[in-house]
């Protein structure tokens, strides 16, 4: 009985945070701020569903399922990467080196810098450049 309340609680929490994440996309008014809502609120949104699934698997079906842990791990690996890609596109299209703060000693941010080799470790392969 208690586990059912726990599962329901997790699902409700997941629903609320998932909703707030989508609502933030609508409500926030500049592109970079919009990025915050889905990257954060959905983490706990999806996390809540996964926790509910684990509790259900453990108490009702009687076995410990670890797939949820994997989903969480993959989510934590991919969410920052997608956020970074969107941020980079935004910088490419809407920001100039003057509209951003100074990049410390390096003068330019990597997205704006098309002339100098970036800090990636060099490989032995031929240096192919696009754009």
């Amino acid at each position: 009985m208690f586990s059912e309340y726990l599962i329901a609680g997790f699902l409700i929490m997941a629903g609320i945070f998932g909703f707030v994440g989508s609502f933030g996309l609508l409500k926030l008014d500049d592109p970079m701020s919009r990025l915050h809502a889905p990257t954060k609120a959905t983490t706990l949104g999806v996390g809540g569903v996964l926790l509910a699934s684990m509790v259900h698997g453990f108490t009702v079906e009687g076995h410990l399922s670890l797939h949820e842990v994997m989903i969480t791990l993959f989510l934590f690996l991919t969410a920052p990467v997608t956020a970074l890609f969107i941020a980079k596109v935004h910088i490419h299209r809407h920001q100039t080196p003057e509209s951003l703060p100074k990049a410390g000693d390096d003068i330019k941010w990597a997205t704006h810098d098309v002339s100098v080799e970036t800090a990636e470790p060099k490989t032995d392969g031929p240096d192919e450049r696009h754009g």
């Binding site: 609502f23 926030l28 920052p80 980079k88 410390g104 941010w109 970036t118």
Partner: protein, 165 residues
């Protein structure tokens, strides 16, 4: 030793891939362990050209403490961001760009820091400087951008420096 290094270029990745495979199949048998280990040997060997430098960790045990701090911060971050989204009017919100100068040197440590920044309270890492010495961070609501920078350096970067360097 040199041959072993060539055949197993990333021992940590090998272990991680084995564990991932066992968790994915969700069957605790020798069968899946052996096949997972085989994949763990094969994948780092084949992808070696894309990751030529071996990763080093000084204090791997501190990772556990770091994970718990980040998980706790993610939960807090969700509540904080949800409150800003729902209750704070757009004109009162103060979004800001913040430059975080980096003390970290290895690409792996900087990647983990950038990922952590994106997952935690009101911040998204947006870019790295062309020489890799600073991160560009966007804040959802930062009345005091310097405080955000100091917190990132104190709370996450210091710990990552202990782990990786």
């Amino acid at each position: 030793m040199n041959l072993l290094r060539r055949l197993v270029p990333h021992p940590i990745l090998t272990l991680l891939l084995t564990l991932t495979w066992v968790l994915l199949t969700s069957t605790w048998t020798l069968n899946s362990l052996v096949f997972g280990f085989l994949l763990g040997l094969l994948i780092p060997f084949l992808t070696q050209p894309y990751w030529p430098h071996q990763m080093r960790m000084k204090k791997p045990l501190k990772i556990a403490a770091y994970i718990f701090i980040v998980l706790y911060d993610i939960v807090v971050a969700n509540v904080v961001v949800a409150r800003i989204v729902v209750f704070k009017p757009n004109r009162k919100r103060q979004p800001a760009w913040v430059t975080v100068p980096l003390d970290l040197l290895t690409p792996e440590a900087i990647t983990v820091l950038a990922g952590t920044i994106t997952m935690t309270p009101g911040t998204v890492s947006a870019d790295i400087s062309s020489g890799g010495h600073a991160l560009l961070v966007h804040c959802l609501d930062a009345p005091d951008p310097d405080a955000v920078r100091d917190e990132i350096k104190q709370r996450y970067e210091r710990r990552l420096k202990e782990i990786f360097e």
